[in-house]
């Protein structure tokens, strides 16, 4: 099946025929996005650069095998994710890095929204702001790995619950509860910084 709506299709076609400038353009379109996925997973700039580099080398080697049953962007995101997770696993096999604790806390009470206010601007405009981008990075880095990975895969990379569960080797129920916690924690952190104090409402409401 060919996806006619893939914005990269023409460049992919040219790259497959040997046009290096088309390949370079594909790299330019996707390198920053892949780097963001990689940092979100490995949380380390140098390792993330290696992930991006390995990903594009792998794409270069296997471009012929890309069958276009997913978009090019999705295909290379999957490759980058797998490389990034491999880096994490290698780190874990070193004795100094503790494994994820088995009592994973997924059954603890949910973090309740505390600071509730409308944001002072819309996400499209906020995304252009350097300070906001720093806030996004900090908030993501503060999340425990188990929450961070699920959020990156589900909400940034947009894998399904099932795909996320498979990639991480956890149950779909775990994915769901971790995603809910991640979203609630990030919402709280971001709203404290981006909320409009004038619209703030009390969380202590109680009605049926």
């Amino acid at each position: 099946m060919t996806r006619i709506d893939d914005p990269d299709a023409e460049l992919v076609r040219r790259a497959k025929k040997g046009d290096f400038s088309a390949f370079e353009e594909l790299v330019a379109r996707h390198e920053r996005r892949l780097y963001n996925i990689a940092v979100g997973i490995v949380r380390h700039a140098q390792d993330a650069q290696e992930v991006v580099q390995t990903t594009f080398l792998s794409v270069l080697e296997h471009l012929d095998r890309f069958r276009e049953d997913a978009s090019f962007g999705t295909w290379i995101s999957r490759i980058a994710t797998n490389h990034a997770l491999k880096v994490l696993r290698q780190r874990r096999s070193r004795p100094t890095v503790p494994l994820e604790t088995q009592s994973n806390g997924d059954s603890a009470p949910l973090p309740h929204p505390d600071y509730i206010a409308r944001w002072r601007d819309n996400p499209e405009r906020l995304a252009q702001d350097r300070e906001t981008r720093r806030l996004l990075a900090e908030a993501l880095e503060e999340l425990d790995e188990k929450y961070r990975l699920v959020f990156v895969l589900r909400d940034i990379e947009q894998l399904s619950t099932r795909e996320t569960a498979e990639v991480l080797g956890i149950t779909e129920a775990n994915v769901k509860v971790r995603l809910l916690r991640a979203r609630l924690m990030l919402r709280e952190r971001l709203t404290r910084a981006l909320g409009d104090e004038a619209t703030r409402v009390s969380p202590g409401h109680d009605h049926a």
């Binding site: 940092v39 650069q49 769901k176 990030l186 919402r187």
Partner: protein, 89 residues
């Protein structure tokens, strides 16, 4: 539906993955609960902001290094001074 129940069903609602019967109760609650409406909006905005925001800048030096490394590999693999790949027809 109470706020607590809404919190638990929140992901399914945001992801459009909700049982229609629960959805009805959810929306009924939302219509009368300003704080819950704001929380839902905040979460949607959080997700959109992370998708659009790409908080990490690619280091310029890495950008260059990646380019030249890929160009070199392309030439090794496909040959040609400009990296032109020879395609057998």
């Amino acid at each position: 539906m109470k706020c607590e129940e809404l919190l638990k069903a929140l992901n399914d609602y945001i992801d459009g993955d909700i049982d229609p019967a629960i959805c009805e109760g959810f929306e009924e609650h939302l219509a009368g609960c300003n704080p819950c409406q704001i929380v839902i909006d905040n979460i949607r905005q959080t997700i959109r902001l992370y998708r659009d925001g790409q908080p990490y800048d690619l280091p310029a030096e890495f950008h260059q290094r990646l380019r030249s490394m890929l160009r070199q590999r392309w030439q090794e693999k496909f040959g040609g001074p400009g990296g032109e790949r020879r395609v057998e027809s």
